[in-house]
Assembly symmetry: D3
Homo-oligomer: 288 residues x 6
């Protein structure tokens, strides 16, 4: 803990970049200004107002030209992202790295890199889970598909959050894959919902959030896949209109704000949890 | 979650105020500018630079004219502090309340008040435990005495943090009580340590932090009693000098930074965890 | 553990006393003989037959002239009750203090006081949870309102009973407050039910107890708010008539019987869990 | 829960009886008055003053003519004891059965029998663990040997008490077996200790109790094997003399007092936890 | 761990044998070749192809001439089976003992015996739970009756598997007892189902398995009572036909395969978990 | 579950292959017969006697030309190994894949691949932990360095084994890196130990295993890094010589034997835990 940095210098890194021709477009241009390229920029902009920030488009995807959902795909994009984290840490240009994407690919490993440089690294699922802990007793995650659900499950276990996770709720709007039908594109759902039209995806999220509250004991709602983050304000409004006072979170803002906290406090990660190659001291035992 | 507030307006409230004549003085004047009255101001000042803040001296203690350590005393000062929280929330002058003091008296109840006004309330132990969760796997709390230890124990249980707390370590420097001998005043220890002289209190904290790391599995160190918060930078240096890369936290800065995060994110607490008198909707069941 | 006391000398302390004019009357006169002032006396009398007992009406409420439901109110009445516990312990007249009321205000702190005098202190929720542990694997709590539910939730966590609590079930019969409508007064429900007439409150309790058994895995049923304790024999009968062999408990009898056990065994509380101001010995660490 | 029985009618059943010629004698005559046959009668007598009680010597041991320590032996004596429980319940003479012996052989099964007759059954380890829960946060068990330790381990798991058990501590004074050397007979230790002479067994218990308190986090001490129950008052005195305020329990008194509580409250066990052959209602699911 | 045994020599032991006249016949002849006497032999035969095996009919039942369901009955047959385990281990003819039967009577004790001979002992419920852990996150047990469910509950607790058990699901087809009606004999259900006719028992199992998957979070299905093991291939097919990719296990094959693993690896059980009478070394403490 | 395969056809895949010039050689030739290339072949050979097996040398390392220890390195080799798993599953030549290496790189993802082909995948740490569960209550892992310890920590959490892991014990013999001193090469230690000479590495393993048993409550010992698997028979002998009856496991044999069990039982992984891209059915919720 040290004097807070007066100025935040963050690199935001997308989980991966798809090649031209992918049918998956979540509302961000492929090129142009960073503002145009950041999904849900309007929601995120105020949180970046006091930040000097760059946006990295993500390492080119090598698993295929479609968004990630399976464990294999998450492992692949995680591994591809690490060199970017190394480079960013070594550049001296940033005091925090914000990993975008809902399933946190490469996050634990990126923290290890960040620790060796004294640079904080945050990610969307982990940050949401921690903010949820400041608000209530148990959270549920509203998420898009079976495979993506199991990645969120993996993260809840890995982050030792099972005692706080009431459930992962599936709205079953899987991400598009060129070799599979895509009957309900998420960007179409988003556009409908943002125009005030009925969106089966948003309706499903409302239904599952209510089930999470009434049946599973959730008092805070998180969003799993970043392709569903656009629902945050709309889902919050819908719950409020019904009378359920459950905060709804999404990942970008949580990851940015947690990064600010860490930078201000002058901390990044415990060197015992993320040791360097040959640490000055070693422990005879680790316990759980 | 909403647009981040451009400006933080915080009220910091001491846990209680003692009457003139108390022998307990932790480095803050009783009157004068707020800066002079805030303990450890030098360490905290940078974190308040972007905050419009007031400092309330705390409700006059009714349990006796000595610092709190027992459960009874914590309950008493907690109850005494709530009217201040009510008043501050109702005043419309603040967007967050930061409860000072290591044992979090009245914190859960103050959050209930804050929730009804949509105002975030943070406190030193809870904030430290949450920040610790961002850094490593398990924390230990270095604390001053048997009775105060058991208040920290109570908090770890109440906050459902038992799975993350490696241990509470006692350095046995109890707070002064006029009816008991006070052979090792904490302010004397602080002054010695800050002058670079040997301090048995700081030495005990180093010894217990090492034991927490080596024997209990801690990878982050918290400080329990606010009267020990002055040790944070010194204990951090001592551990680093030995080679243990374990972050050391204290409560003021954590509580302030967590308050900023909540205010920025436009959230305070779940209305399901802290329901109002007759909430719009009610749940048939709650589970753990 | 020592020779059992041949005679029990107990002080029963109400959680608080309301001023004349409160609309809340749970079947006990404000003055007259102690028997007339103890709610549900008929159910409780046999358990007091071998006890020399006094009934304290409780400290006058300072939170308002209505029954407690919120965390703030519980903290307030808890703090107000402690001087009575001190006085009773110091009087030498009692070998146990039985704290009446469903939400256990001031219980942990009162145990600290009792410990310093070697006097057992029991309370209704804690005693019920312990008796439940003698009977089955998991209990559910039938309780009256959202806010009161969350107090029970708080207690289950604080008593480290989360692993045994299947659920808290809400029948949504909130306690009266003068500034809020009171469409279903609890004493009216009680009188109807005790006359053998249909009571929506009792019916709701039956429905939630069945749901607790069938859906949540409860095998013992507790009652949360003391204003619902009158339901115990009726709820027990209803479940038996249906064929569910789940014991139904309430707080007064459990708290009295647990007090007898402790007095007989010559124990009150562990001095390590509830240490005195400067205990003879101190522990370097506490773990969970 | 019903009107408390004015009079307790208990059958105490030894875990087993050895044939003449066994070298194991724990201070009770084989015949004569029940008072002479009950081990540690002087300590237990006051707790039986308000009880009409009989003492059954236990079913003749079929595992061998030595005290039980291994899992096989516990299973054997447990099975042998059940017909006695059946007979006692069917006789109509008792309102509770108190199973003597430290390792609770046949206890869960005896509760099933008791439930079908509406008769409470208590046992020494289970009762101690429950009383410990009324006193502090975590208990340790001081016990006599590796094999007996693992029976206590088995019980802690079976009773779902792992979260409350700080440790089982072995003093390594195994019970005698005719085919093995018996260099430190427990009755010799007892007699020495009760005469005020040095007893290595008691000294070991003191040492392990201190280690349990200082290293394992225990705040209540239990005794495992009934052949060690005689140490309770002496161990309590030794700890008090050192300054450790940890209650020390033993099984006879706890089991008797818990039986009184259950009889007074008119309860025995949940019919859902211990269902009869074809219960009136059945549950579709059970959860943990 | 040592060189794998080239040849498996197993004794399979039934949980008990009923006298002639029992109405309970689960598809195995009372005499004749071992193949004719082993229930579900067709399903099990391939797993025994590389095993030299004997089948013991089980000790004659002494609890009554009906199958076991209650805790008392399980304790009785467990105790009766131990001498067979002793004898088999001492014979030197076997390198593993496979305990047949769904509720694992005498299993923990038999492992103690096996350990003292260096011979592996496996049992059906324990083996299934371990295999389930190799396949997914949480299992549910489909089982036959209230009393048998509670035996399975007992085993899940005893094996410290509560964190992995999503639920025990009751299909309510209790085992026959001569003094109770037996309207739906299990062998009739089996024969109907195996002929391809509708079986209410199998239908109930399908319904409860689906509920376990959809409501309780199970991803692997176990069968509780061995009298329901015949359902394994049929239940697996039914789930697959519906589209649920949840493995369905049963006990015989799991217990046999686990025995092979242990024999191959040259291990049986930890001597610390199952110590001998006077082990070479003893531990000062055991923790959980 | 189906008829056991009469013949096992396994592909063993090394975690990675280093380029010529690496100083790390754990006893296996780079080329030649598979037997010569498999580390610790003498110990493993008997377990492969009934297996048609191939050995893949592993994907060429891209993280550097040294063995893996850090999280980044594990992620890298895990991602590199997945195409080999794909190819092997698609080839139709194998009915199980055995992933060699102590830290299980790519294991969870490889199971997802295997599931889609109906092919079992096993790995060394996971297999050891499961076998340990068949033997005792709690295991400890003896491991080589801080960074590798934290990978094992990660696995224990991910596999939801924290309740069974007593500790991870560090012997501090880190793996060689060309840019760091390598004062105690592991192959030198191995050769010394196997010649019967004193080996500080083996001595450290003995010391930490004893500490795990005496202090942490372990009753089974696992080995973390595959570069330490050679110690298994020697460590087992040393513990036995001292009198500690704790089984010592290593990964190759456990992974091979678990693979045999799964192949015999005709199962690989739950399709709910490892769903395919668009599974036939989806679940509304997942719980923990």
């Amino acid at each position: 803990m040290a004097t807070p940095s007066r100025r935040f210098r963050f690199l935001l890194i997308n989980p991966y970049s798809l090649a031209p021709g992918s049918t998956f477009r979540m509302g961000a241009a492929d090129d142009g200004a960073k503002e145009a390229r950041l999904p849900n920029y309007a929601n995120t902009a105020p949180f970046l107002a006091d930040v000097d920030w760059d946006l990295h488009p993500g390492a080119p995807a090598t698993h295929g030209n479609w968004p990630v959902e399976t464990k294999q795909e998450f492992l692949s994009v995680g591994a591809n992202r690490l060199p970017l984290v190394h480079e960013a840490c070594a550049s001296g240009r940033y005091n925090a790295i914000v990993l975008l994407g809902g399933g946190d690919p490469g996050y634990m490993e990126a923290r290890e890199i960040g620790r060796s440089h004294g640079i904080a690294v945050t990610s969307c699922a982990h940050a949401q889970m921690h903010v949820a802990g400041l608000l209530g007793n148990r959270f549920s995650i509203i998420d898009v598909s079976e495979t993506h659900n199991m990645q969120m499950y993996h993260l809840v276990v890995q982050y030792q959050m099972t005692g706080r996770c009431a459930s992962i709720r599936n709205i079953n709007f899987p991400l598009p894959k060129p070799h599979l039908p895509d009957v309900q594109p998420l960007d179409v759902e988003r556009d409908k919902a943002q125009r005030g039209e009925a969106s089966p995806m948003l309706d499903a999220a409302v239904a599952e959030a209510i089930a999470a509250i009434e049946d599973d004991g959730a008092d805070v709602i998180l969003l799993g896949c970043s392709a569903a983050y656009w629902m945050q304000p709309l889902l919050q409004q819908r719950l409020q209109a019904i009378g359920w006072e459950a905060p709804v979170l999404e990942g970008y803002r949580c990851a940015i704000e947690v990064a600010k906290s860490l930078v201000s406090l002058g901390i990044d990660a415990s060197g015992l949890a993320f040791p360097g190659e040959r640490p000055a001291r070693w422990r005879r035992k680790k316990v759980f």
